[in-house]
């Protein structure tokens, strides 16, 4: 069971400097700086509501940057980070009326902007252990299987940065092992992964602790 071969990324570096984020009039965090080099992962840790998800959404371009700068060097030039990143949020972005394979094929075509070879879809489904369910409508999937299918998206389309929000939620031990090995492969290829998680990752990661002290009401 080997995930599809990925081209290596080289010289990637993601730098956040003095970032501040405001959501719903509340300052979630401010003065946040971090630096992740290629082939390494950053684990975001901290209590609930401290801004882990907000930071990932900010990196994905879904929440505006209030202050500070965010740069990705070594990626495609003149391309926003959002277009070079995979975002795996709390929601799985699956349509219950489409089959497992149709769901993944759509996202693979949409995200890559071109035709996708069926072998690539099969390989991605195989990597998350859903190949036997390819023709099953997504409405019949369990929460863990939905999570696996969402994960297959990251395998089917190659992107240098992975933004993972609680990626282990709903996954069983076997699913978590697959997830960890997929992340490890991604890092081996030179990619970057940021994960907000309460689970200990089985490989060396740097940790960014978000402190609740930054939580304050905006004046």
């Amino acid at each position: 069971m080997s995930p599809p071969q990925k081209p290596a990324f080289s010289g990637l570096e993601l730098i956040g400097d003095g970032l501040a984020c405001v959501r719903g009039g509340r300052r979630v965090f401010q003065g946040l700086s971090f630096r992740v080099a290629g082939a390494s992962a950053l684990a975001l840790r901290g209590p609930n509501g401290v801004g882990k998800s907000s930071l990932l959404r900010l990196l994905a371009g879904l929440v505006p940057v209030e202050r500070g700068t965010l740069t990705l060097s070594g990626g495609k030039p003149d391309t926003p980070i959002a277009e070079q990143a995979h975002y795996l949020g709390h929601l799985d972005a699956l349509k219950p009326g489409l089959s497992v394979e149709e769901n993944l094929t759509f996202w693979a075509q949409f995200l890559s902007g071109g035709p996708v070879r069926p072998e690539r879809i099969d390989a991605a489904l195989d990597a998350v252990g859903l190949i036997d369910l390819a023709s099953l409508p997504a409405r019949f999937l369990s929460a863990g299987q939905r999570r696996r299918l969402a994960l297959a998206r990251l395998v089917a389309v190659t992107r240098p940065v992975w933004l993972l929000d609680e990626p282990t939620s709903a996954l069983d031990t076997e699913g978590q092992d697959r997830l960890f090995s997929l992340i490890a492969d991604h890092l081996k290829a030179g990619g970057i992964a940021l994960a907000a998680t309460h689970v200990d990752l089985p490989f060396t990661v740097e940790t960014l602790n978000l402190a609740p002290a930054a939580m304050e009401l905006r004046a």
Partner: protein, 222 residues
């Protein structure tokens, strides 16, 4: 533009699957049109005279039916997040979704309208006009409607608010649609002028609607 064609194919597929509601609008349209003879009474001349108005109001309401789910369904399951992140401009994504909605909702209405017009005792010359004006006018209704759909994307029961927001904006389309259709029934009134204005309204909505809807979606996502 393969991302957009993939999106278009997916929208059509979802519309015809279980829970998609591609033909629900036509069935609703049929019910509205069927109700009218019961309400107005068996006066065939009167029916023929109000026929264009009934068809247009029915089509306008039927066109609103599934509109509130257009972006909401994607927002609820997280698809919209991924679409906003895509390199394709959100305006084009909105346009493609609206076009797919029109193909599964507005176009069937226009095709079914001549049949329903016969139930209203409309003269045979008017049936073609109804089909033509609805085919030209329903894109306008859809592209005005998507602004409301985008504004109410995060609201749980946004359907009613959507209707209140967009129906006033649809009044010009309705006026010129009915005017052009009536021309086929009432010989003295011209057809081409109101029809051209109707086409202009639709084209204008197709330009402005996606821009407004994309702006509303970006604002609503945060």
């Amino acid at each position: 533009m393969s991302a957009l064609s993939a999106l278009f194919a997916r929208e059509l597929k979802l519309a015809v699957r279980i829970g998609g509601g591609a033909l629900m609008a036509v069935v609703f349209f049929l019910i509205v049109v069927t109700l009218m003879p019961f309400a107005v009474g068996p006066d065939l001349n009167l029916l023929a005279r109000v026929g264009p108005a009934i068809l247009w109001v029915g089509a306008l309401l039927a066109n609103l039916l599934a509109l509130d789910r257009l972006f909401q369904a994607d927002q609820e399951d997280g698809s919209l997040d991924l679409m906003v992140m895509a390199p394709v401009p959100l305006e084009l994504i909105v346009t493609v979704k609206a076009l797919a909605y029109w193909v599964t909702t507005g176009l069937p209405l226009a095709i079914a309208a001549p049949l329903f017009g016969m139930m209203l005792n409309m003269p045979s010359e008017a049936l073609g006009a109804v089909c033509l004006t609805l085919a030209a006018g329903t894109p306008g209704l859809t592209f005005i409607g998507i602004i409301g759909a985008a504004l109410t994307v995060a609201l749980r029961r946004g359907g009613l608010l959507l209707a209140i927001l967009v129906i006033p904006l649809m009044v010009p389309v309705l006026i010129f649609g009915i005017l052009a259709t009536s021309a086929a029934v009432v010989v003295t009134s011209p057809f081409i002028q109101p029809f051209l204005i109707l086409v202009a309204l639709s084209l204008g909505a197709m330009v402005l609607g996606p821009i407004a809807a994309a702006a509303a979606l970006r604002f609503g996502l945060e």
